[in-house]
């Protein structure tokens, strides 16, 4: 049938020849020219390109990352992500890394944990590193896997439920070592050779690596939050020199990771007295975003009680990180958007704010809160948004 099919094509081509020559005589309008089948080329990366991870919870072996251009409102392409993936970008933004798991028979059979590297200029998978079957299978955050500041090492979180992490070589594409974290979880890279993990006690464990990527030393910090009274979301918000950890009750714990040991700034609250009595809280999956140059924090906020920490934000609140003053509240209902589950902001001088709801992606002017665009059905469950 391959033949019959191709006969068709040839016949078509010959007909078109005939048709064209007749038309050359008969004059306008001439037929549309034949087209060439090609593969689209990625446009140059800009500050308004976002990577939206669709965890596809209802078809969980089929997670994917959608690349979206918030200037043209076009989808640029897709990176497949398998089952309960971790996702991150290289410091230079040129490479996407997906940590995921495949089963030889879809949901059954031999399990393969792997980190896959994709060239963001071609969206082709270029390399992979096969892991021991220990990868942390959980909601995606920045801390599922991440590069060292100099891109020399790549770290991936393991939970079996014993907690540890893998040190990978993203140049030789090999596994260097596994380092036990004494029950502390996730990987928070800092500097060229430090990895911190969050402990059940509310402290941080920081492991320092030697030049080969093996453990050189480790140190526990004091506890910087109370996991019983007011736990912080495990998903930290990247800021200059570190991460801000928001608590269920709206306390902001800024941690400076630029030194050998994490330094904890004195916590402050997102909430005034009136906000507290109205039961405002942060909530969602990706619960904050910071524009480093403007030094502004964006948080999806909702009204609710204990147990509502995954509820989407009915409003986005904007704070000045230096003064801790709230600069704005942007209600989502006014924009006909449901609760905001994930939030991100571009780092350029004309910053855009990205807010993912159940399925859609809202694009806002991050300075004014003006809604620019709503991309419908951005994903089945879009739970993590990254920008270069």
């Amino acid at each position: 049938m391959g033949i019959s099919m191709n006969t068709m094509i040839i016949r078509a081509a010959i007909l078109s020849l005939a048709a064209c020559s007749r038309l050359l005589a008969a004059a306008p309008p001439p037929p549309l020219p034949a087209e060439r089948l090609s593969v689209a080329v990625m446009p140059p990366a800009g500050p308004h390109r976002v990577y939206v991870l669709d965890e596809a919870f209802f078809n969980e072996i089929d997670a994917r990352v959608h690349l979206f251009d918030a200037d043209t409102y076009r989808r640029l392409g897709q990176i497949d992500a398998g089952f309960t993936p971790g996702f991150n970008l290289s410091p230079d933004g040129k490479t996407s890394v997906v940590a995921t798991t495949y089963f030889a028979r879809g949901s059954r059979g031999t399990r393969t944990d792997v980190v896959e590297f994709t060239d963001n200029t071609t969206l082709k998978a270029t390399h992979e590193i096969v892991l021991p079957p220990k990868r942390a299978m959980t909601q995606p955050t920045y801390f599922s896997l991440g590069f060292s500041a100099d891109s020399r090492f790549l770290y991936v979180a393991y939970i079996t439920p014993a907690a540890s992490f893998g040190v990978l070589d993203p140049v030789k594409y090999s596994v260097i070592d596994e380092i036990d974290t004494a029950g502390c979880v996730l990987v928070i890279p800092s500097g060229p050779n430090r990895v911190s993990s969050i402990c059940e006690s509310g402290a941080l464990l920081t492991v320092t690596l030697d030049a080969q990527g093996h453990e050189a030393s480790r140190a526990f910090s004091e506890t910087f939050f109370d996991p019983d009274r007011d736990p912080v979301f495990a998903a930290g918000v990247p800021m200059t020199n570190g991460y801000a950890f928001l608590s269920f009750l709206g306390e902001v714990h800024e941690v400076d990771f630029s030194g050998a040991k994490p330094v904890f700034r004195s916590p402050w609250s997102l909430l005034g007295a009136a906000d507290k009595s109205a039961h405002w809280r942060p909530g969602g999956m990706q619960i904050g975003a910071i524009h480093r140059q403007l030094n502004r924090l964006y948080v999806p906020m909702h009204q609710g009680g204990e147990g509502t920490h995954k509820d989407g934000g009915s409003e986005i609140w904007v704070f000045d990180l230096s003064t801790h003053q709230r600069l704005a509240r942007w209600p989502m209902a006014a924009q006909k958007l449901s609760g905001v589950l994930a939030i991100q902001v571009s780092q350029d001088n004309a910053p855009l704010l990205f807010a993912a709801t159940d399925h859609d992606l809202g694009v806002f002017d991050a300075l004014t809160g003006k809604l620019r665009h709503v991309e419908k059905q951005m994903g089945q469950t879009p739970w993590l948004i990254l920008t270069p």
């Binding site: 969980e60 879809g106 059954r108 979880v185 009680g305 147990g307 920490h309």
Partner: protein, 177 residues
């Protein structure tokens, strides 16, 4: 690690079961009466709902006795698909799936008898997402650094076929008042 988990988990569950059998032997009739009474207390429950403290609007409002509803009292920290909608029940995995030997623990309030219960949430594993009756409740749920109280982790992680299918909620016993 995994074998230890299984050992601990089995023995503790066995303990819980001895408990239940004893109470059953002691007062089967009363248990049945009690059970039969629960559906007859809608006013009682709605009243309690009205009185609910403002910091817990969900807990009371959503308490029901339908295992196929996310509002079922026992599901107060389920984040996933209800096995009762996937061929299982509130405490049994669907045919062909395998229960996770490891688990996370919650405390839920039963408006039927006004008691708090310790429940064990187990995932059922080895088939792709059931996709039916998604339920996302997080009462007393804690982030991943406190795994025994976390529902974001795939608790099928230690199963031979570690793909997540759905979640059940199993009563271990009443919580201390």
């Amino acid at each position: 690690m995994r074998s230890i988990d299984r050992l601990f988990e089995k023995s503790s569950r066995a303990l819980a079961q001895r408990t239940s059998r004893r109470s059953l032997l002691g007062m089967l009739g009363q248990v049945l009466t009690g059970a039969a009474l629960i559906p007859l207390l809608p006013i009682d429950r709605s009243a309690r709902a009205a009185d609910a403290p403002p910091t817990k609007p969900k807990a009371a409002k959503t308490a029901t006795d339908d295992p196929q509803s996310c509002d079922y009292w026992k599901y107060c920290a389920v984040d996933g698909f209800l096995c009762a909608c996937c061929g299982g029940s509130s405490n049994s995995c669907p045919p062909g799936t395998t229960p996770s030997p490891i688990t996370w623990i919650g405390t839920c309030h039963n408006p039927g008898d006004d008691r708090d219960y310790i429940v064990s949430y187990n995932d059922c594993c080895g088939k792709v997402s059931c996709g039916n009756c998604e339920c996302n409740r997080n009462e007393r749920e804690k982030p991943m650094y406190r795994p025994s109280r976390n529902n974001d982790l795939n608790w099928c992680m230690a199963n031979a076929d570690s793909n997540y299918h759905c979640s059940v909620s199993v009563i271990l016993g009443p919580a201390e008042k």
